[in-house]
């Protein structure tokens, strides 16, 4: 068991590519931590630097009480699960799970016994003599997890743990992963590009862009109050409405209609963010609502995403199923006032 502390961590690749840019981060002991970001944001490099597979250009990595910056991966007491699981194709499931113990020169009976018990704990009963090629994607993932669990590390590192599974299995595996982490209680860092996965699994999320952390917080904080327009845009399964607005002495207005009361010290152009889920659609005129015309209706299952044209701006709003207005219908949009976020011209959250 150990926390992780990164200080001024920088990684430059040949050709002046800065994958990590003076990054500071501390991860608490026992935490389930997500590194979230679009591809190329440096999240995988960060994970590999913690593992020791990449050495940082400058900065330090501490795991528990030790500075491991100069240590090889094998001496860091971490276990990593790779995106492709990296199961050795010529070894059986048991041999794969027992491999870390084989490296530690544990006697064969002891390591086979441990591998078998861990494998059964992870639902691999009856598959122990098979080779990875004879397993389904979900089973392969469990073998990779079992191999990580079997070596009892102080930190788990998962690189896109769910991205190689098909959509239905992914939900099942997600629940499994969360339960496993709770049971084992080991500090876990995982990398994902899927915001829903990060929100569902993590205790805390770091949203990354261009080698820097743009926001660090619990899923609720990151979802409810994105610190900047990048995070606002990235988080949420339906994209947040980011509308150009103007702050004046009386109020913040979008398309000429005031949506939120005046914010102290704010003047000039701003960006107003509001999630489609927090916009209510009415077919009758409502006081203080934005009038518009329905242009597109997209079905999302239990709800529909309605795109409304307001004075040349497109605003998304979700409505419950079977309550969708037809395209062309005039509607009035009322954002719930305490959910409206205002970003200044630099895209930083101001209220």
């Amino acid at each position: 068991m150990a926390g992780i502390a990164l200080t001024r961590l920088t990684k430059e690749f040949p050709g002046d590519v800065r994958a990590l840019d003076a990054l500071d981060l501390s991860i608490v002991d026992g935490e389930f931590f997500a590194l979230l970001g679009p591809s190329g944001c440096g999240k995988t490099t960060l994970l590999r630097t913690i593992a020791g597979l990449e050495s940082p250009t400058s900065g330090h990595v501490r795991i528990g009480q030790r500075d491991v910056t100069a240590l090889p991966p094998g001496a860091r007491d971490v276990a990593m699960v790779f995106q492709d699981y990296a199961l050795f194709p010529h070894m059986t499931v048991v041999e794969n799970i027992a491999y870390p113990l084989r490296i530690r020169r544990e006697p064969r009976p002891a390591r086979t016994a441990r591998a078998t018990s861990v494998g059964e704990q992870l639902g691999l009963h009856g598959l122990m003599a098979r080779r990875p090629a004879e397993l389904s994607g979900g089973q392969q993932q469990r073998v990779a997890l079992a191999r990580a669990v079997a070596c009892k590390p102080s930190v788990f590192l998962f690189d896109e743990p769910l991205s190689n599974l098909d959509a239905r299995l992914r939900l099942e595996a997600r629940t499994f992963l969360k339960r496993l982490q709770r049971e084992v209680g080991v500090t876990t860092v995982f990398v994902t590009h899927d915001q829903a996965e990060a929100l569902a699994l993590a205790d805390r999320i770091a949203v990354m862009e261009a080698g820097q952390i743009r926001q660090l917080g619990t899923p609720r904080e990151v979802f409810g109050r994105p610190a900047n327009t990048f995070v606002a845009n990235f988080i949420g399964s339906t994209p947040m409405n980011l509308l150009p607005g103007v702050a004046s002495a009386s109020a913040v207005a979008v398309a000429g209609f005031p949506v939120v009361p005046r914010r102290e010290g704010l003047d000039g152009p701003v960006t107003v963010g509001i999630r489609p889920e927090y916009v209510s659609v009415s077919r009758e005129p409502v006081d203080g609502a934005l009038p518009g015309t329905v242009s597109i209706v997209e079905h999302l299952g239990t709800s529909s995403l309605v795109t409304v044209e307001v004075d040349g701006l497109l605003v998304g709003a979700t409505v419950p199923e079977e309550a969708e207005p037809a395209p062309g219908t005039p509607v009035w949009l009322a954002p719930s006032p305490n959910r409206v976020l205002v970003y200044d011209a630099d895209g930083t959250l101001v209220g």
Partner: protein, 275 residues
């Protein structure tokens, strides 16, 4: 009308293929029938007088059986050198970023056809003379290995490139040393590639003539490919019985190896097979 044309075309195609197949089959059929005929001729026919006298004559010839053993020694020796050196070089070239790596590989491949080629025979002979390796099987193994290594490295590097790096990284995170990674992961996973190189090397050496012919003076050290040249009767005409029987024995190991490798790994030879 078009159907007729298609039928005629198809017939023509198969007739052409038939002729081509017969052209290649005739020497092979001769190789199967002539050793059992007494006396053998150049004609391809079922043996008139079936006998194994030609094989008995091989047993009596004091160079024939040792020549096959020599071929085996050269083939296995070269195979060991080529597989070991090519595996290490290919692994390093596949995993380490070396500037100009691809150019280096292509130049090596290009030069390799020169190194064991006829053009380089004189310098190679002089080099071996200086090294005091004339008339030594070890010297022949070195020269043959040098010639085969570039192509072997090239083929094996392509193969190792297809092995995901995550296997090795995963083992590294678990604390495996580089040597353990090579032994536990890379070699077992690359085994089909190594087997291809091993079989390919043996076939190449088995069929090589010029290098052992020039570097080995002592007839007792010469391999089968070189010895065949000396099978003449006292009258100066080719000793067909001995030649045919010896050629059959000489070709069997290659066929057996091909079948074994094929049934074990199911791979095809990527060119370069010699009979």
């Amino acid at each position: 009308m078009t159907v007729m044309l298609a039928v005629v075309r198809r017939i023509g195609f198969y007739v052409a293929i038939g002729f081509a197949t017969a052209f290649f089959a005739i020497p092979l059929l001769w190789l199967l029938s002539a050793p059992f005929d007494d006396p053998p001729t150049y004609a391809v026919r079922l043996p008139r007088h079936f006998s194994v006298e030609n094989f008995a004559e091989i047993a009596r010839n004091r160079y024939a059986v040792p020549a096959l053993v020599n071929s085996l020694l050269l083939a296995i020796g070269t195979m060991a050198v080529v597989v070991a050196a090519a595996a290490l070089a290919a692994y390093a070239l596949s995993r380490v970023r070396v500037p100009g790596r691809d150019a280096l590989l292509y130049v090596l491949l290009l030069l390799s056809s020169v190194v064991t080629g006829t053009a380089a025979m004189v310098p190679i002979f002089l080099l071996m003379f200086q090294l005091n390796l004339i008339d030594s099987r070890f010297g022949v193994v070195l020269v043959l290995s040098g010639g085969l290594l570039p192509a072997a490295i090239f083929l094996l590097k392509d193969f190792i490139d297809t092995i995901p790096r995550s296997y090795e990284e995963s083992a590294r995170v678990f604390g495996a040393s580089p040597l353990q990674i090579l032994r536990h992961i890379v070699v077992p996973v690359a085994r089909p590639g190594l087997a291809t190189i091993a079989v390919w090397t043996i076939v190449q050496v088995w069929g090589s003539f010029l290098t052992p012919f020039i570097l080995l003076r002592d007839q007792g050290k010469q391999p089968a490919a070189v010895l065949v040249r000396t099978f003449y009767t006292e009258g100066g005409s080719p000793n067909l019985g001995l030649l045919a029987a010896f050629s059959l024995l000489y070709s069997i190991p290659v066929v057996v190896m091909y079948l074994l490798a094929w049934s074990r790994y199911g791979f095809r030879f990527h060119g370069g097979i010699k009979s």
